[in-house]
Assembly symmetry: C2
Homo-oligomer: 411 residues x 2
Amino acid sequence: MLQSQLFVKPLRSFPADEEAQGAKFLVRAGFINKVMAGAYEYLPLGFRTLKKIEQIIREEMDAVGGQELLLTSLQEKQVWEKTGRWSDKEMDVWFKTKLKNDAELGLAATHEEPITAMMKNFISSYRDLPVLAYQFQTKFRNELRAKGGILRTREFLMKDLYSFAKNQEEHEEIYEKLKKAYFKIFKRVGLGEKTFITFASGGSFSKYSHEFQAVADVGEDVIYLDKKKGLAVNKEVFNEETLKDLGLKSENLEEVKAVEVGNIFSLGTRFSEAFGLDYLDEKGEKYPVAMGSYGIGPGRVMGVLAEVFCDEKGLNWPEEVAPFKAHLIELPGGEASIVYQDLLKKGVEVLFDDRKTSAGEKFAEADLLGIPYRLVVSSKTGDKVEVKKRGETKTELVAMTNLLKLLKPIS
Amino acid sequence: MLQSQLFVKPLRSFPADEEAQGAKFLVRAGFINKVMAGAYEYLPLGFRTLKKIEQIIREEMDAVGGQELLLTSLQEKQVWEKTGRWSDKEMDVWFKTKLKNDAELGLAATHEEPITAMMKNFISSYRDLPVLAYQFQTKFRNELRAKGGILRTREFLMKDLYSFAKNQEEHEEIYEKLKKAYFKIFKRVGLGEKTFITFASGGSFSKYSHEFQAVADVGEDVIYLDKKKGLAVNKEVFNEETLKDLGLKSENLEEVKAVEVGNIFSLGTRFSEAFGLDYLDEKGEKYPVAMGSYGIGPGRVMGVLAEVFCDEKGLNWPEEVAPFKAHLIELPGGEASIVYQDLLKKGVEVLFDDRKTSAGEKFAEADLLGIPYRLVVSSKTGDKVEVKKRGETKTELVAMTNLLKLLKPIS
């Protein structure tokens, strides 16, 4: 894309109303725009990164047999009364609204109830199980306090997968498969080394649930991390019993702040029993379906990436989720449009800074946007291109054929 | 995809609460599921078709220089008070809700106000113009009556593009470009021959706006169509003056029912003036930005396709938007899994009916789902595949190499 045509330009100064460093950079670089506390617009660069994270999650959900669908935001009261969660006391983050005839509606903060109700149309026999279904859908949560830019918002995109199994044993198999898929996702988005599976409260369904916590100073959660074992315990269940259950020792644990970037839940039969989602087994006997739910917020992942990889100059995106792979900069005396066309032809995603601004401004902006490879064509580069990776200081003159190999390795 | 693993199965009977034939088939075939009047879930097959329509629209918006972003559903009162549209009298389809501190919020039914407010961050000079920005975002509209399955709903996906130009002349160029892009979109989704540009009320901004109306008996709109000229007039502006303006003659017009599948609007400076979205020209003089808005609802397009192409047996999708290109059916004595693998390798999207149900049931279901090519492998087909197009009766035995050419023509 030609940068001269990108309508987004960096803001002159940092936003006054953001505290977290990553959030400040995201706003200043024009990745996101705040419309109110807890609601952000994704501008073209931010939208590209959001979609890349979404696509990685989609691929891994498809790989474990997830079927994508799209549920609704508008929700009728009756469906949620079946589990008691219509009550604002049970679920304190509802946004509620009304039809013209005064019938109350809610905006979905999660989707266990509607998907269980829908599955009654399709699940009745053991032959229909297991089922894994997921969506990317906006969640609305009326949080008392929104925080950390796009880390905790009142409206956000979420991938939520729901699993339906014949029994606890089949459920556990699915649960383990999803756990592995989540590790793959966090590795691919660039958070692999910073994300730890963390034991947290299982609610009324099971003793523990699993959170995926990314270690970050901006985090609101406190976890106790055994780095060697790659395992952590959320403060909420940090006690003798938990340590014993998990075979952890206090002296090996480190207290760190972290952001919950994903969670997986065993739901047992709470929802299936409330809705009568049963199946008949081979002998014609009726059982309730065993369920699980598995969430990741692509926007929050993006927010964490901004926080943990930024430096004093700006953002620094992992390659798989960067809005573009390369940031091509033309300086006086250089002619970069042939390089641009060559890269496009090879399918390299490149932002081409074709504007007539100064080298200093272009370099500062490249650091702010945080695209992985900075390519410079100037009077000094001859028939080569100067390459610098974001976050490194070393530059290198690279011939075009080698550049293509670097940016588009044969997979 | 293996049909044995698809959780969706056709319902035994038609839904009692749908009137339109296409909507009945969409529900029965498991493309969509109604959660309440005016709110439908998109199940895996329906979701695939929805996404294909979305992708066609995206490609055509990108082709005219549109930049994709994502605005928010939650909206603050103040922004909409600037144009007077916060009032339920001015905009009678608001869903409103509240924050914990009792501050009122609205759910966006359209996005002119927020995008104009946001663009103030980025547009200040003639150098910043023109800008075309678009999104696919859920719209919420508190319609008194929801109708026609997914044709008129209270919650629906919409592509809305907004254009920002220096003056009316530049605006008109963009407007014409978008008009052409819309024709391309309707052609690609399979509605080319049924969709006519239709003059409708321009509201307070201009004399006329343009609607794209697809002729369909299920339509709520009445238009007067000059088929020869490929031009129509909406009943709302059907009078002597309009006919004169457009050079149309009553005797050449046919009264038909139609569904509005898209619309494009010149907005003049109504929004830019309300928000102070000005720019400085080359001489340093200040002018308000000239705006336009351009909408298409992918779900409604899908609903219209279901209506206009269905027959007594079921749905019949145009190739570019079908959930799968081919429906491969294995009958006793045939071995279709090699064909399936071959098609997958060549990148053909294929639904493989690998279940142990009867031939009659499989054929009836294939007709119901409406996938363009039905492929049968049985004891009678030998090393060939029996091919039938949906809606035709002729079958043909085709060798594998020719089948691949048929399904994956080199573009």
